[in-house]
Symmetry: D2
Subunit: 302 residues, 4 copies
């Protein structure tokens, strides 16, 4: 089922779900059969909302981005200080979260997140992406993703802890590891997040990622989503930018031309350690109307 | 496996996951077998972040709560107005979300969300729930929930569109519908969200919910989570408050005494229409360190 | 110095400060001489950031607007609950504010806040008002305003506690009260905020305000700013909208055509009680680059 | 009027305004006479809310703090992309600000911002500073400050562009420059913000500031506020911390023991260039109920 880029309308003129349409009920039922042990792994990095902590800890993120903020609007400290219970003897804790997910935490990209020219994926007008949110290709179109997950543990294949910053994964290397079936979730491990603990400067010095060829190879195999533990699916140069030209930009190849949703900044270390290459992959973004994406907690059911 | 309330330590002295511990790999594998058609339903209400819209639309929520705010930090309008692309011909849309999830959207409660006395669930000190977040029983303890879902469609059982505001679901009515197995996710439909479209005043005039007995019955059957389409699992009176005493408060019975996580404000109308009573139930809250809960998109895999 | 509307370029082709340019050093020195008693009055309504309070109190605001949110990121409750001091014996409280000021609190409008056609005040292109902020006519252009304040206490003139909701203040009534000099801050009291305490439904049933003629009269007298205790300078109808046509819209007359900054939702009750009609008026908006306005605390120095 | 530290109750048992009580109407009238030229200078740094900008610019701030976020909820880009006007031909731009002011922008500290032991300034219980805000000594107590400003331009006195990072201003040096009168606003220029443009690493390598003695000297002269262009009034060491012991901590000496409000992170370069040592100083914090402070735009009227 190899197809040309820019095949607007492959799933119909109104399609805003792209390759998620491949996840028919039959494919979902088949995907559920990939579970073998029943172990459930979270593939999300923690959201650390340190705001006034004298020693805030952080997780891997891109520089210059606004980090998540987490506030308790009422907490146990208030009661310790004498605040009244909300009912006789009944205490409550409540909180608020402020999050700009791209580049700061595990998240899923909506099809409206990136484009070239005047049109989003499938010819939807880019001018519909406005301050009130995107009325085309927003993250609320996703619903939930239940797919067979296929782990491409590239550093393990190469006998490395993690890929080097300038490594661009060639398509052949993916092909040596596995061949995805239509609808599969391709989960790409680079190992790069582990660098954060050693040095954030090194983490920011560049990032390994898919080559354009590898992106095209995945699209040609009709994967439903591409999920990776790096920040941009493709690699980043020392300035933190994608270093391909427009034709080879991974976001454009996958999101824009083929309608493949992306999930970035996953935590794949435990999954990699299990050595399990097939599993059930589930992700359900927040149903933010018009959102360009959502923070998520993807699950692997082994 | 019936047990007494306040059985601190049932899952060990450090337990912060409560009945989610019942979801052993074997139970998970068994739960996956509940899927029959492969249809995936989102059980989340939309998050509408209207901030400056002249005609903001909203979803069912409790009065007086801060509603979600959604901002686009760059969008297609900017490019239409002449903003430069981030790379040659490469456009991006980005956004931010501010959310206080309790009472405003589909969300999951952490075990630190409510308590009585000086201790959270399982004897964890309530004084550890502070402005930096809860260092005990926070939502990051959940990871992911994969369970057999059992739908208790109470209004359908009674031949109603929705339960009346003052209806408190008796345990016997649940027992007539189904008997949950240990680890099951009990999904309770009241139909109340449909009232919102008719009149928000009526929605706020009270809410139907579980009786204390029904809560104890579910806990005694070792459900892993209780999920409902109302705002507080138990009912609400005309002032928007739980009207039971401390002993009978549904949050205390379930969250505090038995360690049963709660999921509230689900959208169950499509699920109810399917007439499907068993399915795979999956929910994965954001991994907010120290959070009192998380907005979520629960999934039913039929 | 009466002049025609749309006199683009009156203060030069790059002018983004409008009639604030009238506040020359000589005018400022003169304005300072208006102080007689030295009493300093705040003209701001409180910002109440209730988020989880069981009984949140509010101040007058327009319906459907996101209210201010105020979070303590560390507070005395944390220390009561055992949090460590930031230094030996040294405690700190810190907080965060989220505010959409238009319609929710006392605020000043930037000249980029409203326009008609493709141009802001003075012909600046409206397309420069984008998601990153306005690069023309933003609130950071204001700096500080020090002017002679002239109080137009309209209900007092008419022997009323407050104007009726459908009252549109005629120019002649203003003229009977006082004649502003160039650079004066015209402070218009309608008394409407006092209605809030009686009934928020009544507050929302409409609002009294300036007539278009009165707006033109003030502009013709070269006031530097118009400040009022209502929400929109002009009146509002029962749907909360300005009910004039485009030619007579008060925001367009003042902000757009004449470059007169507006300050709305002031609290003028104590000032009104003093019976003092001339004073020093000072306001200094936050220097938000590209902001459409700013929450403010205007001062009257009597 | 020299007095001892910890003179609880100097201005009465309920006092929450500290030395702002010195600003009697007579003192205010006298302060207004300090204006000589009528020039009005803003002493605020810009608030840059870059969130998605590919090249965010920033202003001097402490590391690890959440920076201001500024979002446009509707803007000219939306209309360029086809959004409908709010009325026929009537366009509006609206925005929202998220700000944690301490350490990130020009701001004023409330008397509840820092303390030692169980009591705030004047014996108010620290336990009243909770998640809903401070019900004692909050920033809403300030109203507005109108005082004679006295500039202590320390680097100019020493013939330097800015003080070195480890410089702690001795009391004698202040005394050589000027002797404040009761109620004066002492404005201390260190010149440190200019370092930011050269190197943020250098800016973060420490900060010059008042010595403890100088703080006591200012308090003994009954200044109403101390305002400085550094981040903490006192100096900071290479780790960004105040390096005095508890007895000598500048925040405790001024805020806690003597009730002197602090204003930090001012921009004093233009004021310094004027060579004007006396002026009218005006600051009016947002009336945030229970706030630990407020972002502000202080004004100097020369």
């Amino acid at each position: 089922m190899v197809h040309e880029p820019n095949n607007w309308g492959r799933f119909g003129p109104d399609d805003q779900r792209g390759t998620l349409n491949l996840l028919t009920p039959a494919v979902v039922l088949d995907a559920l059969r990939s579970a073998t042990t029943g172990e459930v792994l979270s593939l999300a990095m923690p959201i650390k909302g340190a705001t006034s902590s004298p020693a805030p800890t952080t997780v891997p993120h891109l520089p210059g981005r606004p980090l998540p903020q987490h506030f308790m609007s009422v907490d146990g400290g208030d009661y310790a200080a004498g605040a009244r219970a909300i009912g006789e003897g009944l205490y409550v804790a409540d909180d608020a979260l402020i999050v700009s997910h791209h580049g700061t935490t595990t998240h899923m990209d909506a099809l409206c997140h990136m484009w070239s020219g005047d049109e989003l994926y499938n010819g939807h007008p880019a001018a519909r992406v406005r301050s009130y949110g995107a009325t085309r290709c927003g993250i609320e179109q996703v619903g939930g993703v239940v797919a067979r997950g296929v782990l491409f543990d590239v550093p393990r294949r190469l006998g490395l802890d993690h890929l080097p910053a300038d490594f661009r994964i060639p398509a052949e290397l993916l092909a040596e590891i596995a061949t995805p079936r239509p609808g599969d979730a391709a989960v790409i491990r680079t190992g790069w997040p582990a660098v954060w603990g050693r040095s954030r400067e090194e983490y920011w010095s560049g990032q390994p990622g898919l080559s354009a060829e590898a992106g095209r190879w995945l699209a040609a195999h009709d994967v439903s989503v591409v999920a990776s533990d790096n920040a941009a699916i493709g690699g980043l140069d020392a300035r933190g930018l994608a270093d391909e030209g427009l034709a080879d930009d991974l976001h454009l190849i996958l999101l824009h031309r083929h309608g493949v949703h992306l999930i970035e900044m996953l935590w794949l270390e435990e999954l990699g350690e299990r050595g399990c290459t097939e599993f059930v992959f589930v992700v359900a973004p927040l149903r933010i109307e018009g959102g360009t994406g959502s923070p998520v907690t993807p699950l692997a059911i082994l």
